[in-house]
């Protein structure tokens, strides 16, 4: 299996999107760092390209590292075309308490809806939809998906390091 296939495909479709490829922690899993605003286009390639077919978003995790919010998408292929990959991007908010914006991936991986919602409520990441989202790959009722409910009147993002300090 060509290890650089994913990077080649991404670079071909979205030039300059890949910033770096690293090992994830001490594991053999690769993490691909991409430019934050191109995350949706990259996600689309990863899911729809028949040679990649990374169609299953296992987890979405957000970590605050120094000033940046790092978002990680843990991806797998149910067809076994690729080993697991972690797609990562970082965004820097204007201030430690201000929200940030990222393109949504929920039309590409619908299982990411509750994960994005949690990242929005806990970290203040606003996931933006774009006109091409109407062209969803998977039929899913996005409106009826479950919602979290933070207490009314709560301001700020509880999982940020500076929350309530």
């Amino acid at each position: 299996m060509d290890k650089n296939l994913i990077v080649t495909k991404i670079n071909k479709a979205v030039q300059g999107a890949v910033l770096e490829v690293r090992r994830f922690g001490r594991s053999d899993t690769r993490s691909i760092w991409v430019e934050a605003q191109s995350i949706q286009k990259v996600a689309k390639i990863l899911r729809t390209d028949p040679e990649l077919s990374l169609d299953w978003l296992e987890n979405l995790s957000v970590v605050e590292l120094s000033d940046a919010l790092v978002i990680s998408y843990f991806l797998q292929s149910t067809q076994g075309t690729q080993p697991e990959v972690i797609l990562r991007a970082s965004v820097v908010p204007d201030s430690p308490t201000s929200p940030v914006k990222l393109p949504t991936i929920q039309t590409i991986w619908p299982m990411g809806i509750p994960m994005e919602r949690e990242a929005r409520e806990m970290f203040g990441i606003q996931f933006e939809t774009s006109p091409q989202d109407d062209d969803a790959d998977v039929e899913f009722d996005f409106e009826s998906s479950p919602s979290l409910c933070l207490p009314s009147g709560l301001s700020g993002f509880p999982l940020r390091k500076k929350f309530n300090k």
Binding site: S61, V63, M111, P146, L150
Partner: protein, 378 residues
């Protein structure tokens, strides 16, 4: 409006709000239903009523305290939260776990799986109105909780695992008692089959009721017994083996559509019954040859420091794939502990699953999804 059944009453839509606390709900959550007569035409799910800030609490306390917090991720099967955190930290610290400790972890995991599935059956019995069976099931589950108490001193929040092993060796007579309980549950399986699997009333309420398609399973990210009941053979113990599961001989039950439709409520029930049998097989294999040696890696001391870096681990909990992403800056507290819990996906599937069903089937469908709100809300 979705009129999928011919007997739809074609009345005006009414709105029902059920919860956050209601007898038909397995845990605190709120369902906003639109009803067309007896048919559910739309559903919205609200969660978060049990949010405890568990991940934030982990960041505010020491690494060792995080084990105790992860215990509370799912109070019914506490060991899985502890295990996934320990596996992630051990991967990050490159800390080896002695074989004896791995065996003890697997014994506890499989006992918790059986206990979790028995609790599931209790909720199913409650949903179909078979009150008597509940007592039989709880009687057997008590025997497993007794085993937890014998080994760890606690029945629910065990706080027994440590980075690099477990906190104590197995006590005298523990292994014999586990074998006794396995034998007891093996005998009880006939009773469960009579009361559930082949029971006319139970079949009437569950067979061919609300099947979940493979497509919905994949779109919602469902894992565990619910996904396997719909024919998706995904089990972390086989796909990403941990704690010595690769050395064990066991099979992963997958839905067969015994009642006519693959992935219906009856399949979701049967898959758990078959998993109990597999768990007992695993326990018997393990108990025959519990390796001798240390139960804790001696590198783990009071001043143990988790090095800077990150790791991700996953285990197969009784509800599905439970993942944990840990990040350390080398300090005394975790920089981030994030859990990926299976119930979140099950909750997400509810609106799609219940649309078009009768209101009387709602409690049965919710029970069949085995929702652990504590782990979803965190």
């Amino acid at each position: 409006m979705n009129l999928t059944q011919p007997e739809s009453l074609k009345t005006d839509l009414t709105t029902w709000i059920i919860g956050p606390y209601h007898g038909s709900l397995p845990a605190p959550m709120r369902l906003s239903l639109s009803l067309d007569g007896e048919m559910i035409s739309d559903c919205h799910v609200e969660t978060g009523f049990l949010h405890r800030g568990l991940e934030k609490s982990c960041e505010l306390h020491s690494w060792k305290a995080a084990v105790a917090y992860s215990d509370h991720l799912d109070p019914e099967c506490a060991i899985f939260g502890e295990l996934v955190l320990c596996l992630a930290v051990e991967q990050l610290s490159e800390l080896e776990v002695p074989e004896r400790a791995q065996s003890i972890r697997v014994i506890l995991s499989e006992l918790a799986r059986i206990s979790g599935h028995l609790s599931f059956m209790v909720r199913m019995a409650k949903a179909v109105g078979s009150e008597t069976i509940i007592h039989y099931l709880l009687r057997d589950r008590e025997r497993i909780l007794d085993l937890f108490e014998l080994l760890t001193g606690a029945r629910f929040s065990l706080n027994f695992l440590r980075f690099g092993g477990v906190s104590a060796d197995v006590t005298d007579g523990f292994i014999e008692r586990v074998l006794e309980v396995c034998e007891l549950i093996r005998i009880r399986m006939k009773e469960y089959n009579d009361l559930f699997t082949f029971n006319f009333g139970f079949l009437k309420r569950t067979a061919q009721v609300v099947p979940i398609s493979k497509r919905l399973v994949l779109a919602s990210g469902m894992t565990g017994p619910n996904a396997r009941a719909s024919g998706i053979e995904l089990d972390v113990r086989k796909k990403f083996p941990y704690s010595g599961y690769s050395k064990l001989d066991f099979s992963v039950p997958v839905g067969r559509g015994d009642s006519g439709i693959l992935g219906d409520v009856h399949d979701r029930f049967l898959i758990r019954l078959r998993e109990i049998t597999e768990s007992m097989e695993i326990l018997k294999q393990l108990l025959d040859v519990v390796p001798s040696g240390e139960y804790l890696n001696r590198k783990f001391k009071r001043d143990f420091v988790v090095p800077a870096g990150e790791a991700y681990a996953r285990v197969e909990s009784s509800r599905g794939l439970l993942g944990c992403h840990v990040v350390s800056d080398g300090g005394p507290t975790p920089s981030r502990v994030q859990f990926r819990t299976p119930t979140v996906a099950n909750l997400m599937a509810i609106p799609q699953v219940v649309r078009g069903i009768r209101i009387e089937d709602l409690p049965v469908v919710l029970a069949s999804l085995d929702l652990g709100i504590a782990e979803a809300d965190r």
